[in-house]
Symmetry: D3
Subunit: 137 residues, 6 copies
């Protein structure tokens, strides 16, 4: 099994609803250092999992929809808590959508092995805490 990981970051404001969140119920914010890992069982003819440049660009575009925003006012998250876990899933799902739309190249899209190739997104919210979501592409 091969994988490629690219890294970027995003800075947002938000608050969380529920007693479990304690002081994080107040409006605060976070820098998330974001890693995205692309896994597949074999390489393309060029010897790669994905074009790292395109993968980095894809991640950057998805994060651009969140960056410098107050997520409490972001329409996509009107009904949900924007926990680190939920954001990891949201980012992974948007990346998968774009892969299916050809963002990593048509041939690349065709190369993904259904039920085998996967995508993992990890958000580091502080030096001592992070959350991840992993799914098939």
């Amino acid at each position: 099994m091969f994988s490629v990981t690219v890294r970027d970051h995003v800075m947002i404001a938000h608050s969380l609803r529920g007693d479990v969140f304690g002081p994080a119920q107040g409006l605060h914010g976070a820098t998330y250092a974001v890693e995205t890992t692309f896994r597949r069982p074999d390489l393309t003819a060029d010897g790669i999992v994905v074009d790292i440049g395109r993968a980095a660009q894809l991640l950057h575009e998805v994060l651009a929809g969140l960056n410098y925003r107050n997520l409490d006012e972001h329409p996509v998250f009107a009904e949900v808590n924007t926990t680190t876990e939920v954001l990891a899933q949201y980012i992974a799902d948007r990346i998968a959508d774009r892969i299916h739309g050809g963002a990593l190249g048509a041939s690349a899209a065709a190369d993904w092995a259904p039920g085998t190739s996967s995508l993992a997104v990890t958000l580091h919210e502080s030096p001592v805490a992070s959350a991840s979501y992993e799914r098939y592409v």
Copy 2:
């Protein structure tokens, strides 16, 4: 699959028995930077894997039983080598015990999917070496 990781550290003295350990047979010590990852297939109603604050507290309490100790004199390790691997397993097992005892909340305990939810503990013993143990919760 979702996961949350929390980090802490512990400083201990110990020695290791067996020729394979070379100079580490002498009494020496280590700072272990410790990561604990909690994995489950879905999120609670609050949109989380675990309460990160409680998870960090749980890890801290388990490490408190080892911190600033000479493990050669710790009764739990009388019969075993306190290798990094053995300590990773010990820490993971104590965390699992406490989860089953309700340390992450009664509802959280009920939410764990048997045979699916897992727990991984990694100890970084130096910038160039680490060891991990992973088990079901």
Copy 3:
């Protein structure tokens, strides 16, 4: 010259006023990984610059006044932009105040060499950007 550095972090929301800040004029947030370095020309009789435990506690208390807050509504910053540089200075000044108030111990306070002992605070706002402020104690 000796120094000791302790690390912690803080998560806040804020916005910045001025065209130079581009998209950061919107309400967003950050996790700041915060380092504080204490420098002095010689050691106490115990062989230390400061009690690391007390220094970490002091930093934690100063950050607690900011953590999980929207700095746009924090009375201290009503008139100023809460840039990373300004926050570094604010934190360093609060730490110096508390040192003078005895937070590191009366004898420690007496030990500081005026015009020589210094204090530096660095805030890492993302994996690619940080800011620092250094002053005499």
Copy 4:
């Protein structure tokens, strides 16, 4: 499941063939920070996955065959692109060869559980990109 990870690095020159590589088609180079993870379901009688010293030595020897080289002139890679993914596989395969040859000790070799014990090699090519290959031992 237990694992041990050791880290080292290697500095090489190379170029990549194919439009997908853009400016990386020119002769350039990289420092790869290399992690190798050894995974097995249980520990040896000494309480270890592998002798960390021997594992580090094994990784260092495999990297020595690449270090300070222009991979475009390395006979092993005459027919292939030396992408990060390809190099991760090459390093993992050489480590597996040496394990089977007894590099981690004859008893260690015997201890590996076929179809269960695995080996993963990750190369960090920059602060924002890495690639991995994982295989059974």
Copy 5:
């Protein structure tokens, strides 16, 4: 004293002339993780040392002249060894040139205090070695 640090990276090939360089006399390469620190005694009216976005852009542009290149064929380095130290100085000097040319804004340029404001460039060539150069702006 205030400072701001921005980070980027560059991947190059080169060889070094002189017995002191041992195996690094062969054509090889490196990824340099590059930090640039801007230091000044006080802040602008906006509360900043420099516009972090512009500083990052400035560093990126200077590195673009080196990235994916074989420095042995780069005309600027025809007469010198491209050691990490020499590259740190080269990058710092190009950044200073551009600051004097207004790259951080005309007002910013005017704000620099001659003989006080400084610039430091650090290149991390591997996890275990780095080099820096510091100069007045």
Copy 6:
């Protein structure tokens, strides 16, 4: 001003005498990740501050005198607390001794500018605490 930094690590056991050390009065241990920075105003004819290979070897040899030891029984430290600060000074002083003895080459020793060239040693004792000592060579 130029500098070169090399990194290594050391694992020791020790205890500390004095109420200020709280639980660290018990026998425990630490992994110190050790950085040594060599600073000089100009470069040698080869374009370097020091031969990085020799500098790394020098640091490694000095640390070898401490590695896998119980510092409570180390004759050098019979009368002093082996705090992180004290160990940073001890390591820096041993490195300076060896530079004066020619460990970085006779010409290198001659090249050091008295009262200008300096040496800094930083010990990271945990992810949240470190100590440094800086002196002239």
